[in-house]
Symmetry: C2
Subunit: 224 residues, 2 copies
């Protein structure tokens, strides 16, 4: 890894486990005017915690001094600069609903993501088969809390009620929502309605890909 000046950096640390450690680390990062964007305790035993952080550094600052200062903390045993998850896994398309439809949408989305990733993009296709209005509404709302999520495909035969409200909420937060042509009110709430599941997957990936000439806002219709 080179040590870039400024921008988003990612740090993998090993440290002594337990409450308070993160507070100490956050203090050092704040003194460097770093802005913590994510933290994950990747694993934790009685002896050791593995912690993964992504940090935004001001333009003129080098990551080397920050890494040295973190390494000097008694609670820290090892610090390594790594690639960000954005660089490795990139933007995420989330597909949820019935297993039969989710699988077919995934086929289309994965094939299309392959074509863009070969040209240097990074697009992931993440799925969960789920049943029930409450479970799906909860999962739709939680997409807003998933890192790097850019688009959601609702792949089922009947979805409405609180799922429709959840779709409108996440669209307001900037998420693109595509719906299969199905019963219920979710298609009315989506940005785009696509009848063929493979095509739905392809179109969703095209809509978020930088290497595709496809813009939802410029479409003459929203149902395909």
């Amino acid at each position: 890894m080179t040590q870039p000046a400024g921008g988003r950096i990612a740090v993998a640390m090993r440290m002594h486990p337990g409450p308070g450690g993160l507070h100490t680390i956050a203090g050092v990062i704040a003194r460097h005017r770093g802005d913590i964007k994510s933290v994950d305790i990747a694993s934790e035993t009685d002896q050791e915690a593995r912690v993964y952080l992504e940090i935004e550094l001001p333009g003129e600052l080098s990551s080397a001094q920050l890494v040295d200062d973190l390494r000097a903390l008694p609670v820290v045993t090892d610090v390594m600069l790594v690639n960000t998850l954005q660089n490795i896994y990139g933007k995420r398309v989330i597909i949820m609903g019935g297993g039969a439809q989710v699988g077919q949408v995934a086929i289309g989305a994965i094939s299309e993501a392959d074509r863009h990733n070969i040209r240097g993009e990074r697009i992931s296709v993440d799925t969960i088969p789920l049943v029930g209005e409450a479970a799906l509404a909860d999962a739709v709302r939680a997409v807003a809390r998933l890192p790097r999520a850019r688009a959601l495909v609702l792949a089922g035969a009947l979805m409405g009620g609180d799922i429709e409200r959840a779709v409108r909420e996440v669209r307001e937060r900037g998420l693109l929502v595509v719906s299969l042509n199905m019963a219920g009110s979710v298609p009315d709430a989506a940005d785009l309605v696509v009848t063929d599941p493979v095509q739905a997957g392809v179109m969703t990936v095209m809509a978020i890909a930088d290497t595709a000439k496809f813009t939802v806002d410029r479409l003459q219709r929203r149902i395909f």
Copy 2:
């Protein structure tokens, strides 16, 4: 949301943006003997940051007092208890490699996850089509940093070299690795080698599902 005493809780907050805010929050949580497990800045504008935290609380403590103390911070504008991502999206199977094979493994894994999720589990199937030894080795190693990842399927026609080393590293960290029957040294390094991609997806989900009677350690052979 009920307010459980102890265990893992999830909090969605709105706060003023900028460096140092997380340090303040981590201080309050440490005073409550809470152990921060993950933090994500879900979105950030000049006016507002949306922050999502998961926190482990000691058994006897209620989350209500912690939420009140967070809400009282000047930097915080809103605090809401929400469902954890573990409860909503559950364990993750990660599939990576060539688009054709990743799509077929996904079909098997999604169908099988559907059968378990209907019985109350939560299993997600997450994928990325990727090409190239360095890109794949990097992506394999980064699975150790992905929250809730439990198993990895390598779905390609030829994988070896540094990808093999990365597979051995993540297996040592407790990840189950399944490989398609392919050229290169990755099948030698995997827990399980499966020839049919749909079957590979099904078996991987069965191996991590609580509702399945399938244990990799009890298999009489590792190549199918």
